[in-house]
């Protein structure tokens, strides 16, 4: 009977482990299988198991007190409880904004993690059986108190065990990509910056592809060595004359490693700002990490920098290259090679005059907001520096569509919605508010959970943004708890009337409310609408 109990508990534990492993795995994968980062995440989210431990404690504790023949009933009940918990665990392969993708590498880690768990569990179960005899279930529950915490440990252990093999594999892929790149030799343009990288990359890709020739460009926000290695191996072709590579500066040395893989001959640095501060911690680090890109350029390289941003201006002074060009919207900080004037926001897009090399071009674009315009200027400057005809680029720009959820203006029935759901940074938020203010509208309504990933400046920045929003919006809907306090403080400080505020818990509720209350020609700004901003801290 005791044996049966042990078996039940073991099976329940295994299923529980399997489902828990998947859940932790999603976050492990987001941290790129880096144990240091994963442990930081575990600490930050206090991601210890509670539910499984509760089952083990109750079942084990009761088993101590009851007669041994009741112990098997308790074992069954406990095992069932574990099974129920397991089945109710969400499946990160199917839900969530960033899903778990069981790549071949992920599967290898999963298998080894299971092996580790089995290697701990089976001897423990056997020992319990031999040493504790009839009281064995109690022992096994006690062991499970520890084992329910196992999933993150087995993940890290598995990754560590597989690390040498993975390293070899990755190194082989990297060598392969290096070889392909050297043989096909496209002209590489690197792009980095605290924000605007992906948008600038997308625009530059279109300008080069349409204005000069076939252009290679990894899709979405792929900006790591591993991601770019894979893209090169799978998609780089002989015909590609240009390669636009987004480079993510995750820490000092990130960009250096990327430039070793894809040595750039030209570079754009969009901004040096305060995004993702929790990764860097120190603004000087942010600057230095991004400076690795201009440093990697050859002396005759082409460097395009944002003239509106003090950080990139400093880069122009400290790392000048053969051709150093500055773009910007605001000549106040100094000379610009490419700038705009007479910008007007209309429901069809932005109309402005673009100044470049002594000529002025009238431009119409569907893109909205100064952030988007800055990205446009960055790409335009680079494309011209590479030899494209400015006038042709202006025609191409007239056809560009805004990316989904980046200040995308859509009509919904009688009102309009400005969708700016993609991760918001302070500059982007300000730009969105500016657009909101400039477009004609009956009422201006804001729906937002605030901004995230701003380290210890998050509260301050959200308060500040609340103050700005108060000047523009007729109504503000605050969603979720994350930044609620900061926003309410900011709105109070700005003297924003209480009856114009609405505080809600859930995004869907907010969108439903706002849609229902909308009057004709209202303009609704949906800012930073990422589901993961709303995702509650995961509980285990």
């Amino acid at each position: 009977m005791a044996l049966l109990s042990l078996l039940l508990i073991t099976l329940g534990g295994l299923l529980f482990f399997h489902r828990r492993l998947l859940r932790y795995f999603r976050f492990f994968q987001q941290e790129e299988y880096d144990s240091v980062r994963f442990m930081a995440w575990l600490r930050a989210n206090r991601a210890l198991d509670r539910r499984g431990s509760a089952v083990a404690l109750v079942a084990g504790g009761l088993s101590l007190w009851v007669r041994s023949d009741w112990a098997s009933v308790l074992a069954l009940a406990g095992a069932l409880a574990l099974v129920i918990l397991a089945v109710r665990e969400e499946d990160p392969r199917k839900t969530g904004k960033i899903r778990l993708n069981l790549t071949p590498r992920a599967r290898r880690i999963q298998r080894v993690a299971f092996l580790l768990y089995g290697a701990a569990l089976l001897p423990a179960a056997l020992l319990c059986h031999w040493l504790l005899g009839v009281r064995a279930p109690v022992g096994l529950w006690a062991i499970h108190l520890v084992l329910v915490q196992a999933p993150p440990l087995t993940l890290m252990g598995a990754a560590a065990l597989l690390a040498p093999g993975e390293k070899r594999r990755q190194e082989a892929f990297r060598q392969d990509a290096r070889r392909i790149l050297t043989e096909l030799a496209p002209f590489v343009i690197g792009i980095t910056g605290s924000y605007g990288k992906t948008s600038t990359k997308g625009i530059l890709r279109e300008l080069l592809q349409q204005g000069l020739g076939p252009t290679f460009c990894p899709p979405r926000s792929i900006n790591t060595v591993m991601g770019i290695t894979r893209q090169i191996r799978e998609n780089l072709r002989r015909e590609h004359r240009w390669a636009v590579i987004e480079m993510g500066a995750y820490r000092r040395g990130s960009i250096q490693r990327l430039c070793a893989l894809t040595p750039p001959r030209a570079a754009i640095v969009t901004t040096v700002g305060i995004m993702h501060l929790e990764r860097f911690g120190d603004p000087e680090d942010v600057y230095q990490a991004k400076s690795e890109l201009p440093q990697a350029l050859p002396p005759e390289g082409i460097l395009v920098l944002n003239g509106d941003n003090p950080g990139t201006r400093r880069m122009a002074r400290e790392h000048p290259k053969g051709t150093t060009l500055l773009f910007g919207l605001d000549p106040a900080l100094g000379d610009l090679d490419c700038w705009i004037s007479d910008a007007r926001t209309t429901p069809d897009g932005t109309v402005f005059s673009l100044h470049w090399r002594g000529a002025t071009y009238p431009v119409t674009t569907r893109l909205l907001g100064r952030a988007a315009l800055a990205n446009l200027l960055a790409a335009f400057t680079m494309a011209c520096a590479l030899g494209a005809e400015p006038r042709y680029l202006v025609a191409v720009m007239a056809n560009l569509e805004p990316e989904s959820n980046r200040l995308e203006l859509v009509r919904e029935g009688e009102h309009r919605v400005l969708r700016d759901g993609y991760n918001s940074n302070p500059a982007g938020f300000e730009a969105a508010l500016e657009v909101l203010a400039e477009l004609p509208a009956n009422r201006r309504i804001l729906v937002t959970p605030g901004m995230i990933e701003l380290g210890d400046r998050q509260a301050e920045e959200n308060r500040r943004m609340a103050g700005l929003a108060a000047q523009v919006c007729d109504r503000i809907l605050l969603v979720g708890e994350t930044n609620r306090a900061a926003w309410l403080e900011g709105l109070d400080q700005a003297g924003y009337p209480e009856d114009q505020r609405l505080v809600l818990d859930h995004r869907d509720e907010a969108l439903h409310r706002v849609g229902g209350e909308a009057r004709p020609e209202d303009l609704i700004l949906i800012e930073n609408d990422l589901p993961d901003v709303y995702e509650a801290r995961p509980s285990f």
Binding site: T364, A388, E389, R391, V394, A395, V396, A398, N399
Partner: protein
């Protein structure tokens, strides 16, 4: 191809998909076509050219599900190739059979037998002579136009000139090459405006050699013209610019058959004279967005044999359409599109589609006498088989006279 015995159905390989912007429309045309084939006479074999350019076949292709699950769903299909040489009775599987030690067949991969190929590809590589060239080299029977007429039909610029030579009205035009525009867009624009007939007024810009409505725009200002040219050059190396006919009625006619060629009833695709965009042309069903998938051109709001159109224009369109079809040497079913300028009453040839969406069957079902889709397909396939017999009867003179002497 000789039939091995009475009662065997003719195996028709319907080729669709393809590397063109009209890939999706081609799938719709093909599935519709396969459903309409007379299954007592014909045995349809779906052959899908994926966006990678690889050819696949398999029964799953008859269901929409496989297209919505691409590219993963391709693994359940058989990859095939059409070898560009005669003597192969069909499609050759691409992958060698998996060798197992207990299997002893050494005869090589089994060819999937095909009696006649039915290209149902729209746009580049399918409607422009490319696949026809492959089929000729394979010595296969195939439906529709041969290489020359197909290529000519796709090239709006050349086709208009041929038609104009015949004395049929065409709109004035200017062609712009991408290289020239990239180098000096302003100059390209000025040269367009210097073209007789295009000096002023709104213009109409389109890709020279694509079907559908991708990249087509009406423009009124210089900036719009330049932007429209840039848009065309995303898809094609040449842009065609014509004057915009403000009071426009589009008149389409379908033509089929050889000696004599017959014209169908006419249709006007839209009552109020606006030109159709890609979305309007293919994603509507009576003006509303189709809930799931679409019926292609068959689903569009259209006026077939409209009463409000005068008989003279209808007759003119039909007779000119037949002349143009014969002029090109076309085969199979084509749809010829005209533009009627209501302010002058002049009828201009616009373009010919040698493989029209849904094979314009909806025009033949309303013609006099009416022709059902099933019958239409039967005629097209029989025409293809007869045509191949004709070609086979031509001598090919191989002799090594120059080398020997």
């Amino acid at each position: 191809m000789s039939r091995e015995g009475e009662g065997r159905r003719t195996r028709v390989a319907v080729i669709f998909g393809g590397r063109s912007v009209e890939h999706e429309i081609s799938i719709i045309t093909a599935l519709q076509l396969i459903r309409a084939l007379d299954t007592e006479r014909y045995d349809p074999i779906p052959v899908y050219i994926a966006q990678s350019g690889r050819w696949y076949t398999g029964p799953a292709l008859l269901e929409k599900a496989v297209y919505l699950a691409l590219p993963g769903s391709l693994s359940g299909l058989t990859e095939v190739v059409l070898l560009p040489r005669p003597g192969v009775p069909g499609l050759t599987p691409a992958a060698p059979p998996v060798r197992r030690w207990w299997r002893t067949d050494r005869t090589g991969p089994a060819v999937i037998p095909v009696d006649v190929y039915f290209p149902a590809l729209h746009g580049s590589l399918g409607e422009d002579g490319c696949i026809q060239g492959l089929l000729e080299m394979a010595g296969a029977a195939y439906t529709g136009c041969s290489v020359g007429p197909a290529a000519l039909g796709m090239d709006k610029w050349s086709c208009k000139r041929l038609v104009r030579e015949e004395g049929i009205d065409v709109l004035p035009d200017a062609v712009v090459h991408r290289e020239d525009a990239r180098r000096d867009l302003e100059d390209a624009r000025r040269r367009v405006r210097k073209t007789p007939g295009l000096e002023e007024g709104p213009l109409f810009v389109k890709p020279c050699a694509l079907g559908s409505s991708v990249g087509i725009r009406a423009v009124r200002t210089d900036a719009e013209l330049e932007a429209a040219l840039a848009q065309v050059f995303r898809f094609d190396l040449r842009a065609l610019v014509e004057p915009l006919v403000e009071e426009i009625t589009e008149i389409n006619v379908s033509v089929r058959g050889r000696r004599p060629a017959l014209a169908s009833v006419v249709e006007t695709p839209l009552a109020d004279g606006r030109l159709l965009s890609y979305e309007e042309k293919y994603m509507s069903r009576g003006g509303k967005k189709a809930p799931t998938g679409s019926e292609g051109m068959a689903g569009l709001a259209r006026r077939i044999d409209p009463e409000e159109l005068d008989g003279k224009s209808k007759d003119q369109a039909r007779s000119r359409a037949v002349r143009i079809y014969e002029l090109l040497g076309a085969a199979g079913v084509a749809r010829i599109d005209f533009i009627l300028d209501r302010s002058t009453g002049r009828l201009y040839f616009n373009e010919i589609n040698t493989l029209p969406g849904s094979l314009a069957f909806y025009l033949w079902t309303r013609s006099d006498p009416p022709l059902l889709y099933t019958e239409l397909l039967h005629e097209i396939i029989q025409e293809a088989l007869a045509h191949r017999a004709e070609r086979l009867s031509l001598e090919q003179d191989f002799g090594f006279r120059a080398l020997k002497g």
